[in-house]
Structures are given as C-alpha cells and as structure tokens.
Amino acid sequence: MSFRWDVIWRELPQFGLGLANSAWLSTVAMTLSLLLGPWLALPLVSRRPVVRRASRAVVDVARCVPFLLLAYFVYFALPALGVRLDKWTASLVTLTVYNTAYIAEIVRGAWAQLPAGQTEAARAVGFTGFRLVRRIVLPQIALAAGPVFGNQLIQLIKDSAFLSIITVPELTYAANAVQSFYFVPFESFAVATLLYWALCAGVEQVVRWSEGRAQRIRYGA
C-alpha cells in the first residue's frame, strides 16, 4: 500500500479546472434560479385554488425526480422533441430547472412566514401587485431565507457531480479521469473530496457572513 501523491500534485491543474467548472456551473444555475424561483412562487401563493393546486403538483413532482434522471431527460430525450443542446447548455438547463423548483418552494415557505398585517399595511398605503412583491415581500424573504438558500447551493454543488456521467469535465469527472489514467483511485478521490469540502465550507462562510449583515440590516447595527 503505497500512495502516489506526486501524481496528484502533477495533475493538480486538472483538479483545479474541474473545481472551477463545478463552481461556475453551480453559481450561474443558482443565480438563474434565484431570478426565476420567485416567479414560480407566485402561482404557489395564488388566491385561485386551480392555479395553486396545479403549480403545487408541478413543483411536487419536479422535487420527486432524481437529478440524474432529469439530466438524462434534458440531454437524451429533448433531442427527440427537436431541442438539441450541447452538454454545457444541457447541464445549465438541468441545474437551473431542478434548482428552481426547490427555490420556489423555499420562497413560498418564507412568504408564508411573513406577518399578514404587513401586506395589508402595504396595501393600505397604496402598494399593489408587482410593486408590493418587489418592495415589501422579496427583500424580507431574501433576508430571512439566506441560510436556506446557502444549503440549497451546497446541495446544487453536490448534484452537479452527476453531470460527470454525461461527460461534463467538472470536479468528479476530473478525479475519475486522473484515477483511471494513473490508477490512483484513493489519492484522486480523497483530493476531490477535500476540494468539495473546501467549496462547501466556503459557501457556508459566505452564508454566515451575509447572515450577520442581514441581522444588521433588519434590526439596525
């Protein structure tokens, strides 16, 4: 049992590239989801039962599908419907669609926690529709649900590892490429685990920092 860490050291650029790809794919998908999620949350809190129930069903089913199955669907089944995406676009679409369902549910949950009196007060001073959501509801959801969004980003980073199966060169793919080329499975996967751990720890640190800021914004310094 002799480990060959020198191989890992030499192949570090490949790990770095994989890490960078994992990080940007997750970050871009998360940003898109945060922009799209609230729109999907609107029908979830609609006053019309038909709209509410239909959107509820869509979000629930979407959250029951394994990430890999959705990735297969986007990459292999959409071409049958005439939509052909390269693997990067397919990855981003899968990550974003999958994550948006979760974000919408988080936004709905945080929305339900807001005191009803606030919305009523806002209506009383003349806020309506879109402006009410944008100026009163969303800023509070962003402050309240920050840590939950952070956990979701970590989940997204881990889900993105499935993309290695459709040969996207992210971190897990890089680790597997190095291990099968040099036959250094233990070293290679250990380093990849360490890098994922560092990435998730980084996200947690950012969340903790922004949580402190959110507290100050909400309750004053």
Partner: protein, 215 residues
C-alpha cells in the same frame, strides 16, 4: 409507446433501486445513531473521528462517494462487489446525515431528565433505552423520512459502478429503442409514486405517534 416487456424491465430496475435504498436505510439509520452517540458522549478519539467523518461525507457528492468506496477502498485492502459497494456507500453517506438528525434530538433531551435517571440508579445504557431513545425517535422521525427521500433521489449514483438501477435502466431502454421519452417518463412516474407513498406513509405514522403519545 411503452411495451409490456420494457415496462417489466423498468420495474426490475425500480426493484433494484428500492432494495438497495432500503438496505442502505436499514444500515444507515442505526449507524447514524451510533455516530451521534459517539459525538454526544464525547468518546475520546472516536468522537472526533465521527465529527470529521460527518463533515467530509456531508460535503461530498454521492457520485464521488460511491466511486471512492468502490475504486478507492481496495487501496486500503477492502474490495467489495458492485452491489455491496452500492449498499455500503449509500448507507455510509446517509448515516452522516442521520447522525446530525439524531444529534439534534439527543441535545434536545432536557438535562434534568438524565440527572433524574441517574438519581434513580439507572446506568447509562438503561437511561438511553428507557428514557432517551423513546423520545428521540419520535422527534427525529420527520427529518429521517425526509433524508430517506433524499437518499432515494441520490441513489442513481450507483450506476457509476455498474449497478443497473431504475435511472440506468431507463437510459438503457432509451438507447436500445431510440425512443427516449416513454422510458424516462415512466421512470419519473415510478420515482414520484415511490417517494409520495413514502411521504404519505410517514405522515400516517407521525399522526399515530402524535395520537398515541399526545405530543
């Protein structure tokens, strides 16, 4: 459309997914409890090891973890068959998350109860069996079930070591028939039905637990 033989094929894949997930849950839930106890009791060395293990496993993707167990552990002299590696990897993975759930519940048990149990002359083991465990399993149930659904959704990762689960089967059927839509839709329905049955069953169990123990 979907032929009968293909559907049977998919159901076979679903059976593999269910069997491996259930085995992983059956091993992972008690293992998680063990890890959480080692941490809560501050067992020297073992407690620290469990904390480190928990931290790394919770940050690593299931795909990577499955490959680590199957390809990486033989370097430490532990070779497993693909099926055994799949069960072991999923169980070890879910155990780390279960440990956090158990730990939160254990830390929630009022200190006074433990002191009272000791005053009554109960040993550590008896206190755990008679006082702590009956409370924490009821508290942990909802979170444990939600972790089970996450495990089932992560289970397609075992395809990377050649185990043909439902997702892999759907992909194979799609490749053979050149009609990807029916098998993928069928697989989605099977996953959705399985998870919803699990959630409904858990809700029923929770309701009965609440009714019985008046929580």
């Amino acid at each position: 459309m979907l032929r009968w033989a293909t559907l049977l094929d998919l159901l076979h894949g679903a059976g593999t997914t269910l069997l491996i997930s259930l085995l992983a849950i059956a091993l992972g839930v008690p293992l998680g409890l063990g890890i959480s106890l080692a941490r809560a009791r501050r067992v020297p060395v073992l407690g620290t090891l469990c904390a480190v293990y928990s931290s790394f496993v919770r940050a690593s993707p299931v795909v990577l973890f499955v490959m680590f167990v199957f390809f990486g552990l033989p370097a430490l002299g532990l070779s497993l068959s693909p099926y055994a590696a799949a069960v072991a990897a999923l169980a070890l993975n879910t155990a780390a998350f279960n440990a956090e759930i158990w730990r939160a519940a254990i830390l929630d048990v009022p200190r006074g109860q433990l002191d009272a149990a000791r005053a009554m002359g109960m040993t550590g083991g008896v206190t755990f069996r008679r006082i702590v465990f009956p409370q924490i399993w009821r508290m942990s149930l909802p979170a444990l079930v939600s972790e089970m659904t996450l495990l089932i959704k992560a289970s397609p990762a075992i395809a990377v070591i050649g185990v043909v689960d439902l997702t892999r089967k759907a992909r194979q059927v799609a490749a053979v028939t050149y009609a990807p839509l029916p098998p993928f839709f069928a697989a989605m329905v099977l996953y959705a039905v399985t998870l919803m049955l699990l959630v409904v069953a858990a809700r029923g169990l929770e309701r009965r637990v609440r009714a019985r123990y008046a929580l």
